[in-house]
């Protein structure tokens, strides 16, 4: 049962990253800076919510408490969510959203790549299916980084400011805690130290092309993976969950 709890917790971390970022990106729907970017972002949001759905289905199965993916998405409270702090940060302006997406996509791609080597057949299947979409997300956000970084003075300034703002949340992506170590030991989890090497290469490469500077590592935020979230999380859940909270069991 201890092992199952670890597995459940581990799946929730992956699922919640996708769910919360998917919800955040979906907030752009109908508000994008242009029709084309609006639909582009909405596609990404839908992909992410799709990944979350498959993962939460699996989490519910592992949990074995007769709960569904929907129960896990809509009936957990803030402390029950195990996503990293980066994905819950507000959309801000378009540059903020692109920076958040790029920093996360670069991580997510290599994370899923490594997850394909897991001993857990279900996680491997999910990773193989999702990584094609994640590769596209990465392409989308990386191209916008370059376009805006190497764009006008204004777009450069906004892009650089967005990077500086979000950098403090990047370290958590790679910070191995006891659960990460245990899952790696079990042959199921991903070695985040390796992911960081690939992430660094990728990020440095794109930042150079975008004529942006890599922010200095200063105080790095952490805690999301353990359920300790920023003040934004409650607001996200209030919007995401209100219908199931107000009308329990509602289906449509």
């Amino acid at each position: 049962m201890g092992n199952n709890n670890n597995l459940l917790e581990y799946i929730l971390r992956i699922a919640d990253n996708s769910l919360i970022l998917g919800h955040r990106v979906s907030e752009w729907c109908g508000h994008g800076p242009s029709l084309e970017t609006d639909i582009g972002l909405t596609n990404i949001a839908l992909d992410l919510v799709g990944h979350a759905r498959t993962l939460l289905d699996y989490a519910a199965e592992v949990q074995n408490l007769d709960k569904s993916a929907d129960d896990l998405a809509f009936l957990r409270d803030v402390r029950g969510f195990k996503n990293c702090l980066l994905v819950e940060q507000p959309n801000g302006n378009f540059a903020d959203t692109i920076a958040r997406q790029f920093l996360f996509d670069s991580f997510n791609y290599h994370f899923y790549e490594a997850l394909q080597e897991s001993q857990d057949a279900q996680l491997v299947a999910i990773a193989k299916k999702s990584i094609k979409e994640i590769a596209y997300h990465y392409r989308y956000s990386a191209e916008w980084m370059i376009r805006l970084g190497d764009g006008t003075d204004e777009s450069y300034e906004k892009m650089q400011a967005a990077l500086e703002q979000l950098w403090t949340y990047t370290d958590e992506l790679f910070r191995m805690d006891a659960l990460d170590e245990a899952m790696l030991e079990a042959g199921i989890g991903v070695d985040l130290k390796l992911v960081k090497i690939y992430w660094n290469e990728r990020v440095d490469h794109i930042l150079a092309e975008a004529l942006l500077s890599r922010p200095k590592d200063a105080w790095m935020q952490k805690g999301g993976k353990q359920g300790m979230h920023s003040e934004h999380m409650g607001f996200i859940l209030a919007e995401m969950q209100w219908m199931q909270r107000a009308y329990p069991g509602l289906e449509w």
Partner: protein, 94 residues
Amino acid sequence: MSNSEWPLWEVFIRSKAGLHHKHAGSLHAVDQQMAIENARDVYTRRNEGLSIWVVESKHITASDPEDGDMFEAAKTKAYRHPTFYDIPDEIGHM
């Protein structure tokens, strides 16, 4: 940010191998790469495509819809349709 100054592009999608590219619509984008990406997002969300062409709208030369004479001569030449041949039954549906 407004995309009203972004150039307009025409999008052509090939839905299946062997079929030709067909005009799907238009969109705005700042460059070729972005036009392809946007076309992917806007016009192939429901698995409509295997291949995308984009061309900036300004590069398309169009006939004048007011110029009725242009097609007039072809209207009375029914014999240009291959409908006067007898097709042997063994050929079946053509």
